[in-house]
């Protein structure tokens, strides 16, 4: 009787543990909080009476702002990205250094939009909490790595005030469209993750 059989008969703990280590390797949880300090939940302002200075006092400066119809628009955004991965590996030749991963991702989002008139008083507001499905991803990866397999790059973009210089080095249609960039505060605002086929971005000829 070989050692494995003895172990299996004597005590099932070891082979189970051994199998678990070999097969179910590298289950991964990746999470990313973006601007969670924007405390917009349970916030309600009175239309026509609330001035933008009160809003700033209560919830701080917005994630994005822009002039809009002689007035102002504030956009507050908060995102929590969660990705769960299951990794499988096999103790055979080169395969033992690789893992086969499957990932699923979701983004929990909070958005507050406030529009002010030319005197700075609130004329429109909406708060929304929703969950966005980021889809799934599969990969054959090096065993000792933690890589995100779902594409959340559109939600993870840095603010344009930190990237305006490099925006001029983007592909030509995008660079030529930079004066209409929705992050400059001159042309309106947009939520993170908005598709490129709508609004100003449609000029960038990008899918």
């Amino acid at each position: 009787m070989d050692l494995a059989s003895k172990m299996w008969k004597g005590n099932r703990l070891y082979p189970t543990l051994f199998l678990f280590i070999l097969v179910f390797t590298s289950c991964t949880v990746i999470s990313k909080d973006i601007d969670r300090n924007v405390t917009v939940k349970n916030t309600s302002f009175e239309l026509s009476k609330t001035h933008f200075s009160e809003v700033i006092e209560q919830v701080g400066p917005p994630s994005k702002l822009s002039k809009y119809n002689n007035g102002l628009v504030f956009l507050y955004e908060s995102i929590n990205i969660k990705e769960n991965q299951i990794g499988l590996s096999a103790d055979y030749n080169i395969l033992k250094w690789l893992k086969f991963s499957y990932a699923k991702g979701v983004a929990e989002r909070q958005v507050l939009l406030l529009i002010f008139d030319n005197k700075g008083f609130l004329i429109s507001q909406n708060y929304k909490e929703f969950e966005e499905n980021l889809g799934s991803g599969q990969a054959i990866d090096y065993l000792f790595s933690i890589e995100s397999l779902v594409d959340a790059s559109k939600l993870e973009e840095d603010p344009s005030s930190l990237t305006w210089g490099s925006s001029l080095l983007k592909p030509l249609p995008e660079a030529l469209n930079s004066p209409h960039n929705l992050g400059t505060g001159e042309s309106g605002v947009e939520q993170l993750g908005a598709p490129n086929t709508v609004g100003q971005h449609s000029l960038e000829l990008e899918q």
């Binding site: 070891y14 543990l17 590298s26 990746i30 405390t39 002039k67 603010p159």
Partner: protein, 124 residues
């Protein structure tokens, strides 16, 4: 008994020996000088000018030209993250925080309103 213990160590050793942990830290943007009390004590709506603000906090991240004045928007981005690699289970967490200051000026460059983020970012 000793044999069992030895086997247990052999089987579980890779999970511990091949484990590692890491941290990520990165700041981008302007220095959040508005968190220094001495810098904000003298700010007064109706008196402080654009020049005063620039002298106190430096060039803003963004200047937005409004029809009735300008907005100075200061932004500091702070990324902090950590992760654990345990072979069986891996974990990575990242947090992106923003420290913001905003100043509104009229056409004559006089401060009309201002505000700071509620949660601040620790200065490095």
């Amino acid at each position: 008994m000793k044999k069992n213990l030895f086997l247990l160590i052999i089987l579980t050793a890779p999970a511990f020996l091949l484990s590692s942990c890491f941290t990520i830290s990165d700041q981008q943007g302007v220095d959040n000088l508005w968190r220094v009390d001495a810098n904000v004590e003298g700010i007064e709506e109706g008196k402080t000018t654009q020049n005063d603000i620039i002298q106190l906090f430096g060039p803003p991240s963004q200047i937005i030209d409004m029809d009735k004045g300008a907005i100075f928007y200061y932004l500091l981005q702070d990324k902090k993250g950590s992760g654990v690699f345990l072979l069986l289970f891996n974990y990575k967490k990242e947090r992106v925080s923003y420290d913001r200051a905003i100043f509104f000026f009229d056409n004559e460059g006089i401060l009309t309103d201002y505000g700071f983020s509620i949660e601040n970012v620790e200065r490095k």
